[in-house]
């Protein structure tokens, strides 16, 4: 009758997962191709900048703007990987700090100061600066074109634009190059301790999701951190007006990374790792919450800077859906895998 062994725990089986396989898949099929894509698009942007510089026509401006958007979209797939090679060149800070200080940009153009490495220029460069320079604020296309042709500082403006692009290009090239050799280091480290590949990846993903995806693209602009006062100028691509496209690209890329998915192929990802480590329930939860968040983001419309005012409640809903991913992603998943979340978003007391 008392067949059940009372009080004894089930014999723990050794959990098995091909971590190296997962790291290889993620590196080879998610990370490296994303950077290579970015590199291709930034090169195209550079060429378009040259063409526009030589022949400053409305046609070339349109082409330049579209190449810019493509590059910005491909950046969304790379922004999460701020560790290793990207961290070494502070890629994210160099490519995507927004909002930019437009007065500073104008002043830089005016005085032909092109040293983007100055700490003071941290909010006067990258994609957001190009966004401002190419679209201007409340300016017609003709107005913007005139700044590059008729205006007194037109030559400086062109030079600034070229510098913005080439500065990113240099850093992106460096990252792509370093990943060549870093890839084997990354996939070869199958520890779970702080600084191991999976620790870097999981921490980077969490830091990115919270700080850059949730906060940067939605929470801050819609006013979550400013007592409900919407801050339209804090949207990504505020001047070009395609913030929602960038958000969707970013969320989708994040989901694919989690799944180890590339194109239509679903390779080894964190989801598989969770399942192998008895974490299917957590995986199901993360998948569901991510799906919810992505579905919610499709209700948004560009320009987001207007959406957050005309339909603030809808945008706040998207924020709350994004927020729901955090608990399973930041607490349950790392705990199940034995990875420590080692970054503190402390503002000191």
């Amino acid at each position: 009758m008392m067949a059940l062994a009372c009080g004894k725990s089930k014999k723990t089986e050794d959990k098995v997962f091909d971590l190296q396989g997962m790291l290889s898949n993620v590196a080879a099929n998610c990370i490296v191709p994303a950077y290579q894509d970015l590199q291709v698009n930034i090169n195209a942007l550079s060429l378009a900048t040259e063409a526009f510089s030589t022949t400053t026509s409305s046609g070339n401006l349109a082409d330049l703007r579209s190449k810019f958007k493509l590059a910005y979209l491909s950046w969304q797939k790379c922004e999460v990987y701020e560790f290793g090679p990207a961290e070494n060149v502070l890629l994210r800070a160099n490519c995507n700090i927004y909002p930019v200080d437009t007065l500073k940009i104008e002043s830089n153009i005016d005085s032909a100061s092109m040293n983007l490495d100055l700490l003071n220029n941290s909010n006067a460069k990258g994609f957001p600066a190009i966004d401002y320079v190419l679209f201007g604020e409340n300016k017609s296309d003709a107005d913007v074109l005139a700044l590059f042709t008729a205006a007194v500082d037109a030559a400086n403006r062109k030079l600034y634009l070229k510098t913005l692009v080439s500065s990113m290009q240099t850093k992106i090239n460096a990252v792509v190059l370093e990943w060549d050799s870093y890839q084997s280091t990354f996939t070869g480290n199958t520890d779970y301790s702080v600084g191991s590949s999976i620790s870097l990846l999981v921490n980077a993903m969490n830091k990115y999701y919270e700080g850059y995806l949730r906060e940067g693209k939605i929470a801050i602009p819609v006013g979550i951190r400013s007592l409900g006062i919407a801050l339209p100028k804090q949207t990504e691509a505020y001047y070009g007006g395609f913030s929602v496209e960038l958000l969707k690209a970013s969320a989708l890329a994040f989901q694919n990374l989690y799944l180890g998915q590339y194109g239509s192929t679903n390779g080894l990802g964190i989801d598989d790792h969770l399942i192998a480590f008895d974490g299917k329930a957590i995986d199901d939860n993360i998948k569901a919450k991510l799906q919810d968040a992505i579905a919610a983001s499709t209700t948004l419309s560009d320009p987001l800077s207007q959406n957050i005012i005309s339909n603030q409640a809808a945008v706040e809903t998207v924020f709350s859906k994004l927020q729901k991913v955090v608990l399973p992603f930041k607490v349950d998943m790392p705990s199940k895998l034995g990875v420590l979340i080692s970054y503190q978003d402390n503002d000191g007391d």
């Binding site: 006013g223 007592l227 955090v326 007391d349």
Partner: protein, 376 residues
């Protein structure tokens, strides 16, 4: 005689089975009880630390004291005020009586920076006027004498500088941080670590954040309703005391903080999250009640100085309502904007009886204070 089936053997078996199952479950870990004061320890060492918050309360206290000297004719330097606000050099540019690594400015709601700068400049200019005894009138900063013969210094719109100084930091720093930072998901949510000791100390992030929220309250650890302790409750705690007779809010808020903190020690997220809401709710009710009180006071005032003093307090409390978490609070930004811009107005000299009654009735209705609105 009916035969009763002897159920005793069944009961015995049932007990036997249930105790069989009981012996398989672990004894529940003993939960900590809610302490009488806000005191929490591990191995007899306190785990509570809100030194940063205490420093900032002290800084405000000294800034307010300095502002008050202006009504006695002392000229105040705008730069000195800014230095104190930013704690330049660690001692407010030499104006604080103590050094600290903390400051008020970088914790203030970031959209208020311009307001503070303007306020300090206005204060400096007004103190110059006060030094030559310029009297305040509509559109002109200067002194007024209250019915108690105390002198107060007002800006051109009738805002008393002392009240402006005190209330602005109370809502832009203390309340803002409690409600939008320390009690928020990012600092007190379930995803925040509650296992690892931080800061080379013996408390977890979750414990520390809860303590930091408490620190901004300004309450002595043994604070409660009908408090007679030696340590003065400061700022928000002081008002909890003031409105405690009407609302019981001192006990309510203290209990909520202690219960929340105990829940954190007990790793009980459910209770923790409940108490976060209780704190926000009871504080908000107190602020609304305080606003109603100051409406009542100003409607009774005959002396202009008294009235503008009470209206300045009112301003502070209506503004404060806007510093609660917008996703939880009971008033919308639009409603608050209406109260401030239309009902109270930006010039306290031009306040109308209608505006006062509108504010009072709106708040009484929204916060279920109808029954006591006349006696607050």
């Amino acid at each position: 005689m009916k035969k009763h089936t002897n159920i005793a053997p069944f009961i015995a078996v049932a007990i036997g089975i249930s105790s069989f199952f009981n012996s398989c479950t672990k004894d529940p870990i003993a939960k900590h009880a809610i302490p009488a004061t806000y005191a929490f320890t591990k191995n007899d060492v306190s785990t509570v630390n809100y030194a940063g918050q205490t420093d900032r309360l002290k800084q405000l206290d000294e800034m307010v004291s300095l502002v008050e000297t202006a009504s006695e004719g002392t000229k105040i330097s705008g730069q000195a005020m800014k230095d104190m606000f930013a704690n330049t050099g660690g001692n407010g540019g030499g104006n604080f009586s103590f050094t600290s690594s903390r400051q008020l400015k970088d914790k203030a709601f970031f959209l208020d920076t311009d307001w503070f700068n303007t306020f300090f400049d206005q204060l400096a200019a007004a103190s110059d006027s006060a030094a030559i005894n310029v009297q305040a009138k509509n559109g002109c900063a200067g002194l007024l004498t209250r019915s108690s013969n105390a002198k107060i210094l007002l800006n051109a719109n009738g805002l008393e500088f002392k009240e402006g100084m005190e209330k602005s930091v109370m809502f832009s720093v203390f309340l803002y941080k409690i409600m939008n930072d320390y009690l928020s998901e990012s600092k007190l949510g379930d995803a925040v670590d509650n296992t690892t000791a931080i800061d080379n100390a013996n408390y977890t992030s979750l414990e520390h954040h809860a303590d930091e929220a408490f620190g901004y309250l300004g309450a002595p650890i043994d604070f409660k309703s009908n408090y007679t302790g030696a340590t003065a409750p400061l700022f928000w705690a002081e008002y909890l005391g003031d409105f405690d007779a009407a609302l019981g809010c001192a006990d309510k808020v203290m209990l909520a903080f202690k219960t929340m903190r105990t829940a954190i020690v007990n790793k009980d997220n459910t209770v923790k999250n409940e108490q976060r809401k209780v704190i926000a709710k009871e504080m908000e009710i107190m602020v609304a009640a305080a606003a109603i009180h100051y409406v009542n006071e100003s409607l009774k005032d005959v002396n202009q100085g008294d009235r503008l003093h009470h209206l300045s307090e009112l301003w502070g409390f209506v503004k404060a309502l806007g510093y609660f978490d917008p996703t939880q609070r009971s008033t919308t930004s639009t409603e608050l904007e209406n109260l401030l811009t239309n009902e109270l107005g930006t010039n306290l000299w031009n306040v109308t009886e209608q505006g006062m009654n509108d504010i009072k009735n709106f708040l009484a209705s929204r916060y279920n204070l109808e029954a006591m609105k006349s006696s607050l």
